[in-house]
């Protein structure tokens, strides 16, 4: 029964994705500037015949709705177009860079939850104590700090001055890691390459913390306030009256319910994670999707920007779907 509901929800996402594709496509077509000119680059003389050939190859001579139809048809089949500037299919480029971005995003999520959940719980349990005040002040600082600046400061302190952690990139130059899935942690585990694993983890720390910091701050605050609310509710009073041990009251009863609004916020923050990716990837020279999009924008490589934006939007919609499903497991009263 539930599986059907999940499928239903997933199907609803499809029209949204179509809408996204149409918006992205329209944006690209409404841009001033002839794509063929961009493709030809600035130098040299090109014959009119060449230009005509290119135009028909990229369907630029067809009316707008035909172009839209071709674009949608291709997109559904996984063909996101052809990059003018890099002379490679967009899908290939995205596939190359996606694992790096995903590894970073997952690392950020893990860092933020490891920090935020204990802090949120402890702050609620020891309300108004020094720990509570300090951690909430820290959380407040976290949401006010711009991500790019935090990254730069972390690099300055930990990499440049203290030399504890590397400055940039995903892995040391001299680490020999076999090309596998593109997920360096997975690859190094599978090939038993301990040096590469250590190197990858060291490189993940600073960018992961930078990306995860703001999310950690928001989650900690929301968790704390929702736990405080659940402490006041009847079932907690009952649990205490029953004589249940305090840790059981906190974890089994209060936390379970307090997690509900928290999971919502985590889901909302996925969007921030995806967006913040670009900033952090630029600051740490991380070879991921975000940095590629930024340089694609500067190079006026519209198909690449278009394809990447669509991938981002798809990930976002999927992540929201996952969060919604998780929701129903946390609170059986809520149905999809």
């Amino acid at each position: 029964m539930k599986a059907i509901k999940i499928l239903e929800r997933a199907l609803v996402s499809i029209p949204i994705m179509f809408g996204v594709a149409i918006i992205v496509f329209l944006f690209m077509r409404l841009t001033p500037g002839d794509p063929v000119d961009i493709m030809m680059g600035r130098g040299g003389v090109v014959s009119a015949g060449e230009i005509e050939k290119l135009r028909s190859e990229f369907h630029l001579d067809q009316p707008l709705y035909v172009q839209l139809w071709i674009f949608l048809k291709d997109a559904v089949r996984g063909n996101l177009g052809f990059s003018y500037v890099q002379k490679t299919p967009v899908t290939t480029l995205i596939k190359d860079r996606l694992p790096a971005t995903i590894e970073l995003a997952v690392a950020a999520l893990i860092f933020s939850l490891i920090i935020a959940i204990p802090i949120g719980i402890l702050s609620a349990v020891r309300q108004n104590s020094l720990f509570d005040r300090l951690s909430m002040a820290g959380a407040f600082l976290g949401i006010s700090m711009p991500g790019f600046w935090m990254g730069i400061i972390l690099i300055l302190i930990f990499a440049v001055k203290l030399h504890w952690l590397p400055v940039q990139g995903r892995i040391d130059f001299d680490a020999r890691l076999a090309q596998g899935s593109g997920f360096f942690i997975l690859d190094s585990l599978l090939t038993g390459n301990r040096a590469a694993l250590v190197s990858t983890l060291r490189h993940l720390i600073l960018p992961g913390i930078t990306l995860g910091a703001m999310e950690a701050a928001v989650v900690a605050r929301v968790l704390r306030s929702s736990m405080l609310e659940t402490f006041r509710s009847d079932y907690v009073v009952l649990a205490r009256a029953k004589g249940a041990p305090e840790w059981s009251v906190v974890i089994k009863h209060a936390l379970r319910n307090a997690l509900i609004p928290t999971v919502t916020v985590i889901g909302l923050q996925v969007g921030v994670l995806l967006g913040g990716n670009m900033i952090v990837e630029t600051v740490f020279s991380w070879p991921g999707l975000g940095r590629m999009v930024v340089s694609a924008i500067f190079a006026r490589d519209f198909p690449l920007v278009q394809g990447s934006v669509m991938v981002y939007a798809l990930t976002f919609v999927l992540a929201n779907l996952v969060v919604d499903v998780l929701y129903t497991y946390l609170n059986p009263k809520i149905t999809l």
Partner: protein, 312 residues
């Protein structure tokens, strides 16, 4: 005593409503200020924001340097409190020999302007559309809501970057990119509030006395909603300012000779070892501003409308 029917004397009634409104405002302002004194962090936040605003307005009076042109012989000088620094460059100079303090103060203009204008226009658009959609419902509501849902499918920064990729950079386009997604949140809040207020009795009463729909929306319902909108708006200003700084950092915002904190941090990255202050100090200034705005806005929310705690 003869009761004049309200419908036949609209102007009188309007003035009556406004007189009561002003009296309420004056009393609530006094109460508000009293509350403010009891929340010192909020007060501090508000004062710092005012200092920033004043500094931005009176920038030419405060510093005599030109923020755009520098003296190349004086490049990368350290701030006055480090060794090698001089008093005439209190915060040092950047790679073009421009005084950093001057650029930081002028940078406040951009941040404050972009932040307030983008939030302001987002509020206007979102409120107008939300009020209409929430009140009239029907096809209009369905259309706009679907469009808003579609926009929500994009993460904010990516959407802004995407928009700017296509329409170009520059401060106007930056503001437009921020507004393009910013209005959605206000639209949703106003629409929700409008739908719930519509069922209240005073709306029923207004309809019975023959007031037109538009008048009801503007004069009866909106004044009740304005407070929550205001609080939400102040909470978002900080976020918009960080967005602007992030976009400038990526090079998508303001042309580099115009001082903006984001691009200053970006250009200073190349000199981190030699001159860390070029990147760090604008960042600190930005953080303090956003911190103060957030302190003030959160305090405002706690005073005026605590139930917004779940949204923000």
């Amino acid at each position: 005593m003869e009761m004049t029917p309200p419908v036949s004397q609209p102007t009188n009634r309007l003035m009556h409503v406004w007189r009561i409104q002003i009296k309420l405002w004056r009393r609530s302002t006094r109460e508000f200020l009293q509350e403010l004194y009891q929340h010192p962090t909020t007060l501090v936040g508000g004062i710092v924001v005012i200092i920033y605003i004043l500094a931005a307005i009176f920038a030419p009076q405060i510093t005599s340097y030109d923020p755009a042109k520098g003296n190349l012989r004086e490049r990368l000088k350290p701030p006055a409190f480090l060794e090698g620094g001089m008093a005439k460059y209190p915060l040092g100079t950047d790679d073009q020999g421009r005084d950093l303090l001057t650029r930081i103060i002028y940078g406040a203009r951009i941040s404050l302007l972009v932040g307030s204008i983008s939030v302001g226009i987002s509020v206007l658009i979102g409120t107008a559309l939300g009020a209409l959609a929430g009140f009239y419902r029907g096809k209009l509501d369905a259309l706009i809501s679907r469009f808003a849902d579609l926009l929500m499918a994009f993460p904010f920064l990516i959407f802004a970057i995407g928009v700017m990729a296509f329409i170009g950079s520059g401060i106007n386009n930056l503001i437009m990119a921020l507004i393009f997604k910013g209005w959605v949140e206000f639209f949703r809040v106003v629409r929700g509030e409008m739908m719930s207020e519509k069922t209240q009795e005073y709306v029923e009463a207004a309809k019975v006395t023959g007031r037109g729909n538009l008048a009801i929306i503007v004069w009866e319902i909106l004044p009740n909603i304005v407070q929550s909108i205001f609080v939400l708006a102040t909470l978002r200003i900080g976020e918009m300012i960080i967005m602007e700084a992030s976009l400038s950092f990526l090079g998508l915002g303001i042309p580099p000779h115009i001082p903006a904190w984001g691009s200053m941090v970006a250009s200073g990255r190349n000199f981190m070892l030699a001159a860390w202050w070029v990147s760090t100090l604008p960042g600190i200034t930005l953080m303090i501003l956003v911190l103060s705005i957030n302190l003030f806005a959160e305090g405002l929310r706690d005073i005026l409308d605590p139930r917004l705690k779940t949204i923000a």
